[in-house]
Symmetry: C2
Subunit: 600 residues, 2 copies
């Protein structure tokens, strides 16, 4: 198996040539950094990916965590990884100097995380979660909470988690019932059950810090009665760590993503589980959504990263495997040729590259908006924030859903071998399937996009998106090579406006169920147009670079970019035709389906 899981060349293309991340260093917040520092970060990630994460990729799947005698045993690479990322300062690298961070641009760290996820997603999850949880405490927690927890988490000594889901609630956070009884000791007594919590207990880590949603005794019903707590596995007491009555009761056996234990937690069975309120009471959902939104973009990035690893594994096989001949070659005496020469294999590889590099671009675009929101002010800041808000459900879902198909095509390139565990494709196929589910299913993302993001502030974010894509179209039209695709995207944008007006029309008539009944289809439709925009941006840079007659290897890279861009417009953007037709026909067909009609 080749040792390639992601293209550093492509990440640099996106970061430097498309999103001009270097320009961030002109802002005081990022002024200590430089291209050299960024390159060093990326090289470090590649080194750790190749040396530590990728070698454990298959083994973490074959020997998943075991739950025995109340202890979750995970692969030893996890300890080493947490140690190295802690010592390297990677967990808190994005935070301010005064919080122990390095004020590193999110764009660079997003690429760092993509490299990790491509090398070994299950392993990468441990530090990712710790970053998100620590960020939540440092953003909203008291000084005491920050001092107690954040340093240990940044150092990789304590694991962070996000503990939302409960058996009776699932995606319906409104129905959480874990309770927090106030005491006069500054903490709350917690009681309840959490399920599907990643990495909330395992051997070899000193402590686990759960960022946990619960309801303070007497709180109002629903979302507005939910608060955020820190509830560690072991609580610091008198300089020691004491058990905090949080028990892992089981771990789940999963399709993939097996290296990270998915735990079920029981809190306060012995009446001695303590939680510390983060921020103000009843604002837990708002706080948690900071972590959730970061996690959603991370999920999208991870899906793209897994698809990237699958793509390179398929590409490697396609180059090496001789089978068949040119279709016009009728002489069976002529040697067989590598399958990469067959049109259908090229199509499958182009499809994968179109998805992978389109999705990575969108996720880095989002990361850039995070950075811009950090350094800009006023309307510019708002623009970055609104675009980020709008694009988050797409950045989560497009890679997750299309990643499934992309990995499936990678598997298909290997034929029967793709179905066997001698090759990594079958594992990528299992691993990538989680992303359309966790951190909000695709259905939930669709409702978020159409029900909230498109209509928020009288559609301001949506109008900003149209403006942003419009600018890319205008620039591309000046390039004769790109004019047909620029025109196609302009048409797509018109369709997007038309469909959106049609659907929001239901909202204006207060037909809310109808308005949202095809939200998932709308998300798919919007997602394709968004990725087309990202490909148009890439193509503009590629044609300019080619015009300068670069050396052969560079020319190949840019030619490949251009051909993949053309592929996307010819084979993927065309899908919006049917989706628009479906969405413009929305008349409540699914809503009208009666439960009893499913009987037979």
């Amino acid at each position: 198996m080749a040792n390639k899981f992601i293209s550093l060349r492509n990440l640099k293309f996106l970061l430097y040539e498309i999103f001009d991340v270097e320009s961030l260093t002109k802002y005081p917040f990022f002024a200590d950094h430089s291209r050299e520092v960024f390159d060093l970060v990326l090289d470090t990630a590649m080194k750790m990916g190749r040396g530590l994460l990728f070698p454990a990729f298959a083994e973490m799947d074959r020997k998943p965590p075991v739950f025995e005698n109340g202890i979750v045993k995970v692969h030893p690479v996890v300890r080493e990884l947490m140690k190295q990322v802690g010592e390297g300062g990677w967990i808190g690298a994005h935070t301010r100097y005064e919080q122990g961070g390095q004020q590193m641009p999110n764009s660079i760290l997003a690429a760092f995380r993509a490299i990790f996820a491509a090398a070994n997603y299950s392993a990468a999850v441990y530090p990712f979660l710790t970053t998100g949880a620590a960020h939540l405490i440092s953003s909203f927690g008291s000084k005491e909470l920050v001092e107690t927890y954040v340093g240990k988490m940044f150092a990789g000594q304590w694991q962070g988690t996000m503990a939302l889901t409960e058996p009776q609630a699932g995606s319906s956070l409104t129905d959480l019932t874990t309770t927090a009884h106030p005491t006069d000791q500054g903490y709350y007594k917690m009681k309840g059950q959490k399920i599907f919590i990643s990495c909330a207990d395992y051997d070899g880590i000193e402590n686990v810090v759960n960022l946990l949603l619960a309801r303070i005794q007497g709180a109002p019903l629903g979302i507005k009665g939910i608060s955020l707590f820190v509830a560690p596995k072991l609580r610091p007491e008198n300089g020691k760590l004491a058990p905090n009555d949080i028990i892992c009761t089981t771990i789940y056996h999963k399709l993939g993503y097996k290296g990270a234990p998915l735990t079920q937690l029981s809190l306060g069975e012995n009446g001695d589980c303590r939680g510390w309120l983060v921020g103000e009471p009843h604002k837990g959902i708002r706080y948690m959504f900071q972590m959730m939104n970061e996690a959603r973009i991370d999920v999208g990035m991870s899906a793209a990263a897994i698809a990237s690893a699958a793509y390179y594994a398929a590409l490697d096989y396609a180059r090496e495997r001789p089978q068949g001949r040119k279709i016009t070659e009728k002489d069976p005496g002529v040697p067989q040729i590598p399958i990469i020469n067959h049109a259908d294999i090229k199509r499958m590889l182009l499809f994968q590259r179109a998805i992978v590099e389109g999705a990575l671009a969108l996720n880095l675009q989002c990361a850039k908006y995070v950075d811009l929101a950090q350094v800009l002010e006023g309307e510019d800041k708002e623009r970055a924030e609104l675009l980020l808000d709008l694009l988050t459900p797409i950045a989560k879902t497009y890679p997750s859903e299309m990643g499934i198909l992309s990995v499936s095509q990678g598997l298909q390139c290997l034929g029967g071998y793709g179905y066997c565990d001698e090759f990594p494709l079958e594992q990528y196929y299992r691993d990538v399937r989680i992303h359309a589910i966790h951190e909000g299913t695709t259905g939930i993302q669709g409702m978020d996009l159409l029900g909230r993001k498109v209509v928020m502030k009288q559609g301001k974010a949506f109008l900003l998106f149209l403006d942003e894509v419009g600018k890319a179209i205008a620039a591309a039209k000046a390039d004769a090579q790109l004019a047909p695709q620029a025109e196609a995207l302009a048409e797509a944008l018109e369709k997007l406006k038309q469909v959106t007006a049609h659907l929001t029309g239901f909202a204006l008539k207060n037909q809310i169920e109808l308005f949202l009944s095809d939200a998932t289809v709308f998300l798919e439709f919007f997602g394709i147009i968004t990725i087309a925009w990202q490909w148009l941006l890439q193509a503009q840079t590629a044609t300019k670079a080619l015009a300068k007659n670069p050396p052969e290897a560079e020319a190949n890279f840019y030619q490949g970019k251009l051909q993949t861009f053309r592929y996307f417009f010819t084979y993927e953007l065309t899908k919006i035709e049917g989706l628009a037709r479906t969405l413009l026909q929305t008349d409540g067909l699914c809503l009208e389906m009666k439960t009893e009609w499913f009987e037979d």
Copy 2:
């Protein structure tokens, strides 16, 4: 877990109300049968499915075959199954009385097999393969071969296999190298390696009969030098069974479909492997394609069947699982409702039902053509045969590719639980992925459809298809309820003609590579239109049945049919818009992609 994996009501709807299988009994060949007999067959299959196959479904996955000391150990249910299907006469039920069969219509047996595959695909494969292999011997083998092998295979005492694939050849059968040296004893000495051979060795079966492709010493290179042999694991000698020097060297570890061992065989390592020629030399590919074509339709049917089982598991969950409230219900004090009430869950269920019942219909349509070809003469017979030939790659691929997506949506309905092995969805998701690969990958089916079937006999089969669909459209137009969809299908048919003319235009200009470069996309496009036709047929019957005011349960069934039909036209048929646009733009984009452009 509910005990439902397929709808007998729906199978009967398709068999009796759509395809009028009863009418076959008016032909002498099937005259001994009746609706009562057919119902009994279906009931038997349901009984065996529920009682024998389904209970072993999960366990065969959790405890897959083990290869130890040269022996492949499989789940004990396999022995019981082979015994029961053998004793029941099911393996050879389709053959003539004088061959030991029952002259049972293929349509009924196809439904029988669908029930088995839905209950437990891995287990169902053992008898399926035996049927195909025995049929091949009885069709083309000498009287001696038939007498020696077929009876034992029909009795379920000996397993049949199809042994094509070799390590260096994969899908390229041209490059098979297994050799057969003639002797003067009536047999050939065989030498070579076969890979990915299902069920070619396991404990608890008396013998295995491999139907095997090989090259007679001195045969011409290529396809025209390949012959078909019977090469049993144990050869009958003097009333006993002697080892035939065929060794299972390993079994593969697979993503799914784990209950059936995929073996690697070594033939003639000790120079004592004997094979008996089936039919004439060098005609092996033509003979094998009888079994292959049957197997392809079986694969499609099996994919639809697995998707059916996944659909019922998802439906069951969606009915039982309370989560969330109506979107317009803002009071968190109101109890949660079963998720089947949410529009997006309904959409996912409708999608699955549209795929499952559309695909089952197409496969039973093909089964009916097999039966018609059996009993008709002259042009009518040719019509049935040509339509069967044309539709085979679609009947194989549409269910296989869409089955993957259908099961994935089933898994999605369960959220996090869908990803865990407490529920069967994750297994269906793994199991169903094989079907786009085995018995000819999707890429190969695309080339078969466009490169052979559409153009054969000056497009005669294609024109027959247009005629057949045209008749359904004309009939549906008379029903005002169905007129919009009839019109949509008529438009689709025009698009199909236009696209086909565009692509075959390249063939006429001898641009063969270009002609076939998007064959897979063409197959997808053609497949959707084909299933729309099958749904239009179903809708016509449903509206007529509803007009008679049937009892409530029946009315629900037909209403569900109609709503699913509408779903298919609104959400699935619309996909052809983009596909047509892609195909009409075919200009060699994939072909032009240079290998080195994949570098970076």
